[in-house]
């Protein structure tokens, strides 16, 4: 059985997921597309064997050929389309963020709880990366004892001019926010943001930042975000346990010895680093939809990420420790 997907938003990310669904993965097809730019949607549809074009996301959601919905549109529109999919009882994959406010996330949770079954998956792909999975598997094995700390770095070679210091939290470190909740299997309860000496290559941008997250067990996470560090896209993480540590391995297929150096490669960008994770993420989503389940990051995860991000932004602005206040967690997400 082929899972037929309707895609809302055919910008860069939407196009890439359509490529993935139609030329990389097994068991999926794309039977409907829409975009705020309807001409673009039509152009994309022409490249597909059999895809309807819709003028609105709601129309697409209700297209009978659509088994599941993929939301890749502009963030502020996510809530509306996810709610429409839930209303139609169709599985929906929503690129991050789930919605742009905590309240909107809660409305989605409420709708999904009312429906009575999980339909929503949020696009946090690190959980599907083979390196993070291997790391979690060591942590879960108990080989390093109870986890007490995690040191993370999230480095980008450069960011565009409109990038703000808040985006280092909401766009960049939000991946670590979801990852550590998953890695440690617990919630973040408070956060601080420290401001190191500024990187002059970023002009006025307050970069790097050093984020501190406190987990409910007391475990501490530190995350360095450096978004103009030029040398590469470098995602690292080390979990410190009671009797040992476990760290992400180097992501380098080849070691070159030249010029008094032996050198491995640091990826150029997130595509090089995480392209396989996206493939796995979507294959598992497609397989889950086909088999009647949705198992990835949930609405609750999307909501928690939003609340932690908001707290971190507040901590960045105030310079103080900021606590994370979550609503009660519905049993659906236990």
């Amino acid at each position: 059985m082929t899972v037929n997907v309707g895609v809302i938003g055919v910008g860069m990310i939407g196009k890439d997921h359509i490529r993935r669904l139609t030329t990389v993965l097994a068991g999926a097809g794309v039977t409907a597309v829409t975009d705020v730019n309807l001409d673009e949607a039509k152009k994309v549809a022409e490249g597909l064997p059999n895809a309807n074009v819709h003028s609105t996301g709601e129309e697409l959601v209700n297209d009978d050929s659509v088994d599941a919905v993929l939301v890749c549109s502009w963030g502020p529109t996510h809530e509306e389309y996810v709610l429409a999919a839930v209303a139609a009882g169709k599985p929906v994959f929503c690129e991050k963020p789930l919605a742009t406010t905590q309240e909107a996330c809660l409305r989605i949770i409420e709708a999904e709880v009312a429906f009575g079954r999980r339909l929503v998956q949020v696009g946090y792909m690190r959980r599907y990366d083979s390196y993070y999975r291997a790391l979690k598997s060591v942590v879960d094995s108990g080989d390093i004892g109870a986890p007490l700390l995690m040191h993370c770095t999230h480095r980008n070679p450069s960011v565009p001019g409109h990038y703000t210091r808040e985006m280092a939290i909401t766009d960049t470190a939000v991946h670590e926010i979801d990852m550590v909740r998953w890695m440690f299997g617990e919630e973040i309860v408070a956060t601080r943001v420290l401001k190191p000496r500024k990187n002059s290559l970023g002009g006025e941008l307050e970069d790097p930042l050093l984020l501190i997250f406190e987990m409910s067990s007391g475990a501490l996470i530190d995350v360095e975000t450096s978004v103009n560090i030029r040398y590469g896209y470098d995602i690292r993480g080390e979990v410190v346990g009671e009797t040992g540590t476990a760290a992400l391995g180097e992501f380098s297929p080849v070691t070159v010895r030249t010029n008094n150096r032996f050198a491995g490669r640091v990826p150029e960008d997130w595509r090089e680093r995480f392209i396989s994770a996206y493939d796995v993420e979507f294959q598992e989503w497609i397989d889950g939809v086909r088999d009647g389940g949705t198992y990835g990051p949930s609405s609750w995860d999307g909501y928690a990420a939003a609340v932690v991000s908001d707290a971190a932004v507040e901590a960045l602005r105030s310079g103080n420790r900021s606590t994370v206040e979550l609503a009660e967690k519905p049993a659906l997400y236990a």
Copy 2:
């Protein structure tokens, strides 16, 4: 368009490729199966949405629903099925070896040349491994100068009791034979086999071996095969150029610090190490078949591997240097 594949041989490898074609890759289906054990073929077909069962490979090849043929049967039967596919003008993927004798390989080449277009691909999957591809890309870039040497190791934790010293060449090092021809872009012209002290864990088996290959440019390749080394499946390679070297990176997603050690992981077996390479190999084959081409290891590569293997077996038995005498290479494989 879906490429419909007929599978000859549904043993362990055949089953794994069927899983790959139907649940991992895009654009493929399995519409026919056969096996020397017909009951097994029937059982496999039952698990597929729409697959015919045939009592012979020839019948399967000529099934109209079959666009392309996959040969995973017992080695001695390969020639017959590949020739049948060529006769039918259908693309055929043949697991290694292409055939069990040089003469059989030449008959396949002759048939393919007569047909006038490449139809045959042989299952040398290292060319599709991201690590080897990155290595070749450094070598081809000229960053280490002209390649002069390559050091390889091919280590297995253990082999079954029926494994013979010749199999260290024909089953094990044959992967390096194909790989170095591709890596260096030239033929192997001579070979020697040296016999180190015997590993007592292998009983009477002459293991490890140290194989030496001379390339047409004069470059030298050494390959250590150790097939009872217990600690893991460890495939390594370093190309030595005029001004530097390039080596396969470590295949380890996580580094663990415990017990006065920092340790990465060595794969347990070839599945762990090369499963992605198989996926890429088959996706590229499927895409090629769909687009009308076949671009992977050719009949010529299968033939050359057979001739080099034979020379190496002779060198192993005689203790002498053994030259590799290849037929003239048809223009089809230029």
Copy 3:
């Protein structure tokens, strides 16, 4: 010319330095010893070719055979002996701490400034470690741009029962305190101490800790101290610059491949890790004394370490950010 050293304190560390001065390094001898346990001092002297035993440190300092003084006694006695050496105009090497209070450190500085020439060196040996020196050389080269952050870990396999949480600062992280002042060439201006989830192996001990130091340039340092982590003595550090990073290499002479692992060695204790640094530290001190100079960590460095330690202890107790208030720096230490 041989530099004749008088050693105050012949406990474990004193004995080790006597071994170093007499059997490892060039140009040094030990001509006088004393200890609070006079019998022990006599026993040590018997093992030396020509050493006087003194009943007090002051007497030893004024022994004409003594060119330079080495203070390895109990911390609270350091001030008295260092001041005696300065009064006698003799170079003095004082194991850390320089003194147990800021005020005592300032009295030493005052005496040395009054004398008009540097005589005092404090035993911070990381500045002599080849790994830290290589790291500093990369930072100073500008290859990674201006340094903005440093991530450090200081891990011990275990600590004795009397070890307190304050000692994680005053005994353990004090090495990082001196090291980062030297690495960055600037003072620490403030500090915080965060408390991760407690390691249950340490009983009631608050361990690990996460220390944050702010440098005068705004650069931020984080230091994880984990003193019961069992797996080894693991000292790491990565300086993050504007365009790259530089980290201490692994201190492992051999890589072993067994049991599905490739593994390097983590040192067992500080001896294994830093024994060479101690040798270099003392050879450079001896050479400096012979040539009329003292160039290592100064009284000022000892004082600054004391002030920062005090601030960090306060931060640990209060949970707040604590600023570092240094006296004005005399020109002697420019």
Copy 4:
């Protein structure tokens, strides 16, 4: 007690050892020097506190102030000076080679055996390198099972114009020859030399070479010598055992992340790589002389290296396997 050394030959190496004996190590002094260039010897003596200048090596050997002799003169003179020292019953350290012919080596052995006690040590310093020692310690521990193979590389950035292909054996790989005899605790019994494609940077020089050594146990050693490889001085080695392998670690104190690379350092030359090994070698020699013993590489080791080198040169010239024929080993060297 100070060991007073007389140094024969004060060229680059002799000067470096004098520096080592007088300013780095404990317990040694230099009380006599000589050189074929007597003016140079006088100049060197002026820089020493108390050194006699002699016009011949024999005179120096018999200087009463000389406890032990260090021979750093031109290779062809080694035999004469070593024999003189043995005749005088004085310990003698002879830089490699022990002598320039097998026969000369045997004459030294004969003299030493007649004297009845070991006096001669040959300058093979790899046995004193902490990395090789750690490697041997793993091999000896049995952790990787019985050793069956060793892969070595000996790479130099460049060699002077007068360097010949034979020198790749007699000057370069001779270090591996001594090292593997020590590492495996057995003799080399045969050798082959294979000639890879030539490095064009070396002009007419046949470089690299691939040397194969067979040990008496059957273990096989391969040694790549690449003497114009530009990128650095890179000494590597991996011992392959029955159940695992052990390899020299990377000799790099710092890892730098810049330009899409994480990179460690490859030493520039043998000084950077082995300077510590020379220090240890001489400290142990001095300590041994003082305590009445000589424990390092013996006359027998110097002789065996000469015989293996000769066999390898013959193998290089003939293209054939060449056996190593050693005299009977006197009990003195058991």
